[in-house]
C-alpha cells in the first residue's frame, strides 16, 4: 500500500514536471547557443530618458536601457548642442539598467530645454522639458509643507464630508439607498479616473517595453482580488472582532479611498517637485473640493450605526492621511514606474469597494438594483464627481 501511494505521488509530480522539461528543451532549442532560428531582423537599441533634474550649474539625466540589446551612452547635448558630460556609474547599459548622465550647464530658470543622449550607433534620443526649475531638495521644511498640503487635500475635506452623517442618518430608507448608490457613483468615477491617470503616466513616462496598459490592468486586478479576498475575510470575522458589518464596509471604503488619495498626494508632490507650482496650487484646490465627496462615501454605510464618532474620525484619517505620504514620495522620490503601480493598486481597491457596497444595497433592496434611488444615486455620483473634477 505504502509503496503504491509513494509511486503514485512520484507519478503525479512527474506528470507535472514533464511538460516543463519539454518547455525548457524548446527554449534551449530556440535561444540556445548555435541556434540561428531567430537570427533575423535587426534589434534596434532604445533608451528612455526617465528623469531630468536641474541642479546648481548642472543638468542630471536618468536614462534607462529599454531596448532589446545592451547599449553604450556616447554623448550628451543640451538643445542639440554637444556638451562634455559624465555618466555614472558607467556608460555600458544592459537591458533595463539605468545610469545618471551629469551635464554641466548654466541653465536658466523657467526656460525650456531639450536634452539629447546619443548612443554608440549614432542614434539620438531626446526629452523635452517645458520649464527648468531647481530640483527639490529634501528638507524638513519641505516635508512639513507637504504634510500640511496633504492635510488640506486629504484629511480635512474627508472630515468635512463626514459631517453629512447626521443628515444621512435622519433620512428615509429610500433616500439612504440613494446615498449608498451615490457613493458607488463617486467611487466608480474615482476608479476610472485612477486607471486613466495610470495609463497617462505610463504612456508619457514609461518606455514601451514596460507595456504600460497591461501593467495597469495586471496590478489593478491583482489589487482588486487581493483586497476582495481580504475584505471577505474581514466581513466574515467582523462579528468576532467586534466590528459590525457596516463598520467593516466603511473601513474598507476608507482603505480604498486612502489608496486613491495616496495617488493624489503623489501627483501633488510630483508637480511641486517638477517645479510647476502654479499647476499644483490648482491641483490642491481641485482635490480638496473633490475629496469632500469621499467623506460622504465613508459616512453613508455607517449612518445606521450608533456611537461611532471615534471610529469615524479614525476612518477619516485612514482615508485622508495617505495623501501626506503620497506627497512625500511624489516630491522626494518620484519615479513614474512606482506612480503607475500605486495608482493601479488604488484603482483595484476602489473597484473592490464598489462591489461590496453594491452587494450591501442588493441585500437591502431584495435583489433589486434597478430601483429609482439606486439608478439616480449612481448617476448623480458620477455627475457630481465630473463637475468637481473639472476644477482640477
Amino acid at each position: 500500500m505504502e509503496v503504491s501511494t509513494k509511486s503514485s505521488k512520484v507519478k503525479l509530480i512527474a506528470s507535472g514536471v514533464i511538460p516543463f522539461l519539454f518547455l525548457i528543451i524548446l527554449m534551449a532549442y530556440i535561444f540556445g547557443p548555435g541556434s540561428d532560428l531567430l537570427d533575423l531582423g535587426i534589434p534596434l537599441p532604445e533608451i528612455t530618458i526617465e528623469k531630468v533634474d536641474f541642479i546648481d550649474s548642472e543638468i542630471q539625466v536618468t536614462v534607462r536601457n529599454t531596448g532589446p540589446i545592451s547599449v553604450e551612452v556616447a554623448m550628451a547635448d543640451i538643445n542639440d548642442r554637444i556638451q562634455p558630460a559624465a555618466v555614472e556609474p558607467d556608460k555600458y547599459l544592459n537591458r533595463y539598467e539605468t545610469a545618471l548622465v551629469r551635464i554641466p550647464f548654466e541653465w536658466n530658470e523657467a526656460e525650456p530645454y531639450r536634452i539629447g543622449i546619443t548612443i554608440e550607433d549614432g542614434t539620438r534620443f531626446e526629452k523635452e522639458i517645458e520649464a527648468a526649475a531647481p530640483a527639490v531638495k529634501p528638507s524638513l521644511e519641505l516635508a512639513w509643507f507637504f504634510a500640511i498640503i496633504g492635510t488640506y487635500v486629504g484629511i480635512i475635506p474627508v472630515m468635512i464630508g463626514l459631517l453629512w452623517l447626521p443628515f444621512i442618518k435622519r433620512i428615509s430608507k429610500q433616500k439612504y439607498h440613494f446615498f449608498l448608490a451615490l457613493t458607488v457613483g463617486l467611487l466608480l468615477f474615482l476608479g476610472i479616473d485612477a486607471v486613466e491617470e495610470a495609463l497617462e503616466v505610463s504612456k508619457e513616462n514609461l518606455a514601451d517595453v514596460f507595456n504600460g496598459g497591461l501593467l495597469v490592468a495586471t496590478v489593478t486586478i491583482l489589487s482588486f482580488l487581493g483586497l476582495y479576498y481580504a475584505g471577505e475575510k474581514l466581513l466574515k470575522t467582523s462579528k468576532s472582532s467586534g466590528l459590525t458589518k457596516p463598520v467593516a464596509i466603511a473601513l474598507m471604503i476608507s482603505i480604498g479611498i486612502g489608496l486613491h488619495n495616496f495617488g493624489e498626494g503623489l501627483a501633488i508632490g510630483a508637480a511641486v517637485g517638477m517645479g510647476s507650482i502654479a499647476f499644483s496650487t490648482f491641483l490642491i484646490i481641485g482635490f480638496a473640493l473633490h475629496n469632500t465627496t469621499e467623506g460622504i462615501a465613508i459616512a453613508a454605510p455607517m449612518s445606521r450605526e450608533r456611537k461611532m464618532i471615534g471610529k469615524l474620525a479614525l476612518m477619516g484619517l485612514i482615508a485622508g492621511s495617505p495623501a501626506i505620504f503620497g506627497a512625500w514620495i511624489g516630491g522626494f522620490a518620484y519615479s513614474p514606474f512606482s506612480s503607475v503601480i500605486f495608482l493601479s493598486i488604488g484603482a483595484g481597491a476602489i473597484f473592490q469597494v464598489i462591489i461590496i457596497i453594491l452587494n450591501m444595497i442588493r441585500v437591502e433592496c431584495n435583489n433589486n438594483l434597478s430601483n429609482v434611488s439606486v439608478v439616480s444615486g449612481i448617476s448623480v455620483g458620477m455627475v457630481v464627481m465630473y463637475l468637481t473634477g473639472i476644477l482640477i
Binding site: 551612452v73 548642442r81 562634455p84 558630460a85 558607467d90 554641466p104 549614432g122 479576498y229
Partner: protein, 343 residues
C-alpha cells in the same frame, strides 16, 4: 496570504526596477566648455580625442596632396594617373564612442585630395569594391562621358577609367553621383580636386579643409559638423602655423541638409578667391558664406603669435564640432623646425 503575496510581488518589482547598479570607481575630472572643472566617479563623455587614436587622422589629411603617378605623353603633356577604390561597408568611430557606416574613396572621408596642373591629363582608374553602384563625378570641364552620372559602375569590382584635361584652375569637389544622391554624398563619397595654374601660386603653407556633416541617425539632420570629418578635432589638436608666413586654405563645403555653411577666422582677415578660378582675390574678409559644394581659396598671414579660433559662425555647427584653433608660433623668436608644407 494572496494579499501579502501580491503586495510582496508588487513591492519587489518596484524595488527591482529602481535599483541602480552601485559599482564605484576612482573619480576623474573633466573641463566643461565654460572652463569649469567637474569631478565624477563614472566615465567621461567628451566628444574629443584627447589622444591620437583616430582611425582617420585629420592632421595628416590637412596637408596631404596626391599628384598621381606622373609620366609624359608623346606630345609632352603631363599624364597623372590615380587609382581610386570605393567601398561602402566600413564602420568608423567618427566621434569618441560613436560608430557610423562611412562610404569611402580610398578608405577615408573625405577621399584623397587629387592635385594637377592646368592642362595635365588626369586619368583615374576607378574600382568599385562596394555593394552598391558608385561613380566619380568631378566638378570642372570635361566631356559628357567622363561626367560620372550616366555610367554607374557596378559594385563588387566594377571598373571605369575617367580621363580628362585638368581645368579650369581652382579648387573643385568630386563626389559619387549615383541616386539617391544625398545618401551617397552624406555617407562620405567626396573629395577635393585642385587644379594649379601653370604659373605656380606663391609658396605657402597649404592645407585642405572639407566642411562636412554627419547624419548618424538618418533623420536628414546633421548630428555632427566638422572641418575634415572628425568633430572638434582641430580644437583639441591645434593646427601649428608660423607668423609672417602665407597660409593658403583650399576650402570646400560638402555639408548636406543645411542650406549654408560659413567660415570665420579670428584675429585676422583673409583674401578670398571664390572657386579659386581667378588669381585676383574678390574679398578681404573674415567671414564667407558657402552653399552646397561652394568652395574657394583663402590666403592670410598672422602678425601676432598665439591661439586663434576658426569656426562656423552658424554657431549651431561650431557647437556640434565645426571648430578649430590655429596655434601661431613666433617664427622670429625661435628656430622652428620647418613644417612640411605638403607640396
Amino acid at each position: 496570504m494572496i494579499l501579502s503575496l501580491s503586495i510582496l510581488i508588487g513591492l519587489s518589482v518596484v524595488v527591482f526596477f529602481t535599483t541602480f547598479s552601485d559599482a564605484q570607481s576612482e573619480s576623474k575630472t573633466f573641463v566643461t566648455h565654460s572652463g569649469a572643472m567637474v569631478t565624477t566617479t563614472g566615465e567621461i563623455l567628451d566628444p574629443l580625442y584627447t589622444v591620437s587614436t583616430v582611425e582617420f587622422d585629420p592632421m595628416e589629411y590637412l596637408r596631404d596632396f596626391n599628384y598621381g603617378r606622373v609620366s609624359q605623353l608623346s606630345d609632352g603633356t603631363t599624364l597623372r594617373e590615380f587609382t581610386i577604390i570605393a567601398e561602402d561597408d566600413k564602420i568608423m568611430e567618427v566621434s569618441p564612442g560613436i560608430f557610423y557606416n562611412v562610404w569611402t574613396f580610398n578608405g577615408t572621408v573625405p577621399g584623397p585630395t587629387i592635385r594637377a596642373t592646368e592642362g595635365d591629363i588626369v586619368r583615374v582608374k576607378f574600382i568599385n569594391n562596394g555593394e552598391k553602384e558608385h561613380t566619380m563625378h568631378f566638378h570642372g570641364i570635361h566631356p559628357a562621358g567622363m561626367d560620372g552620372v550616366f555610367e554607374p559602375v557596378g559594385g563588387n569590382g566594377g571598373q571605369f577609367v575617367y580621363e580628362f584635361e585638368a581645368g579650369p584652375v581652382g579648387v573643385h569637389p568630386y563626389h559619387c553621383h549615383v541616386m539617391p544622391l544625398e545618401e551617397h554624398i552624406v555617407h562620405g563619397l567626396y573629395g577635393v580636386f585642385i587644379v594649379d595654374p601653370k604659373e605656380e601660386r606663391p609658396p605657402a603653407d597649404e592645407m585642405v579643409m572639407v566642411l562636412n556633416g554627419l547624419d548618424t541617425d538618418f533623420d536628414t539632420e546633421n548630428n555632427f559638423y566638422a572641418a575634415n570629418t572628425v568633430p572638434f578635432y582641430y580644437q583639441h589638436h591645434p593646427i601649428q602655423i608660423n607668423t609672417d608666413e602665407l597660409i593658403r586654405i583650399y576650402v570646400v563645403n560638402m555639408v548636406e541638409f543645411d542650406p549654408i555653411n560659413n567660415f570665420h577666422l579670428h584675429g585676422n582677415l583673409y583674401k578670398y578667391y571664390p572657386t579659386g578660378t581667378d588669381l585676383v582675390p574678390s574679398f578681404y574678409t573674415d567671414m564667407i558664406t558657402l552653399s552646397q559644394t561652394e568652395r574657394g581659396i583663402m590666403e592670410f598671414e598672422y602678425e601676432f603669435p598665439g591661439k586663434y579660433l576658426f569656426h562656423a559662425h552658424k554657431v549651431e555647427f561650431s557647437e556640434k564640432g565645426w571648430t578649430g584653433i590655429f596655434l601661431v608660433n613666433d617664427s622670429n623668436k625661435k628656430s622652428n623646425q620647418d613644417l612640411d608644407y605638403g607640396s
